[in-house]
């Protein structure tokens, strides 16, 4: 076994490739220690209570171990893990709705109007407690992309790569989600 000090110095990406090489469970434990709190808190944001967050976290780490090899290093590991965790949570939350995937048609005139750096002033002025409530009222998918963009500060490019969708789709989804959030914030909350 490698000395603890050396393992501690490994970057996330080096650690992941070492785990994938021979499904090393001891090294996975190191990865768990690095990210348990982050994953747990992200799950907590989608769960009803602590117990549900615990279950979600347990599932995320199991799935992570099995699918770790699908991390190709195109983005930072942490960024990839954010999307991985959110995806799992969104699937969990929407599992019962059995909603058919809505083909979101993209209106190209809208895309042309989306600037590279969208005006976020409408979001920045929001009050924290009301923002939390509003996020519960938009769809889990919308919540996910807003959190990736504004909480985790991913760039459009990073979101493109972790969600595996095109640039215009990313911009479109952010715009839609933001508009929806602002509408909900101003109209549905007292």
């Amino acid at each position: 076994m490698e000395p603890i000090e050396r393992i501690k110095k490994l970057t996330d990406e080096e650690l992941v490739s070492a785990i994938v090489k021979d499904n090393d469970t001891l090294l996975f434990e190191v990865l768990y220690d690095r990210y348990a709190s982050l994953v747990y808190n992200k799950c907590y944001g989608f769960a009803k209570d602590g117990d549900e967050a615990k279950d979600l976290t347990q599932d995320v780490f199991l799935k992570l171990f099995v699918k770790l090899a699908s991390f190709k290093g195109k983005s930072k590991f942490s960024t990839w893990l954010y999307a991985f965790t959110y995806n799992h949570c969104v699937n969990y939350v929407t599992r019962n709705t059995a909603k058919k995937i809505e083909k979101q048609s993209v209106d190209y005139t809208d895309i042309e109007n989306i600037s590279e750096d969208p005006d976020d002033s409408g979001l920045i002025d929001m009050r924290l407690d009301k923002l939390k409530e509003a996020l519960e009222l938009v769809s889990p998918e919308e919540k996910m992309i807003l959190l990736l963009k504004y909480k985790d500060n991913l760039s459009i490019k990073e979101i493109e790569s972790v969600l595996d969708i095109g640039q215009s789709a990313v911009k479109m989804r952010i715009k839609r989600a933001k508009d929806k959030l602002i509408t909900v914030y101003h109209n549905e909350l007292v």
């Binding site: 469970t25 348990a36 709190s37 747990y40 615990k54 347990q58 780490f61 199991l62 909480k151």
Partner: protein, 58 residues
């Protein structure tokens, strides 16, 4: 103005300590199953290599 999204998960929740052993237990079982699956699956790369090397060279 501060970005309110930054504080959306505050106060941070601490991870229940018993979760780690549950996760590691899952991982151990998953590893066993993955290794079993590997035993029973063909390595397709090898199959192709073997067929190519066994071709009659005419």
């Amino acid at each position: 103005m501060e970005n309110p999204f930054k504080d959306i998960d505050k106060p941070l929740q601490s991870v229940p300590p018993e979760l780690k052993s549950k996760v590691m237990n899952d991982i151990a079982i998953a590893k066993l199953l993955m290794e079993l699956a590997e035993l029973f699956s063909y390595n397709l790369g090898d199959v192709i290599e073997t067929v190519i090397s066994k071709r009659d060279k005419k």
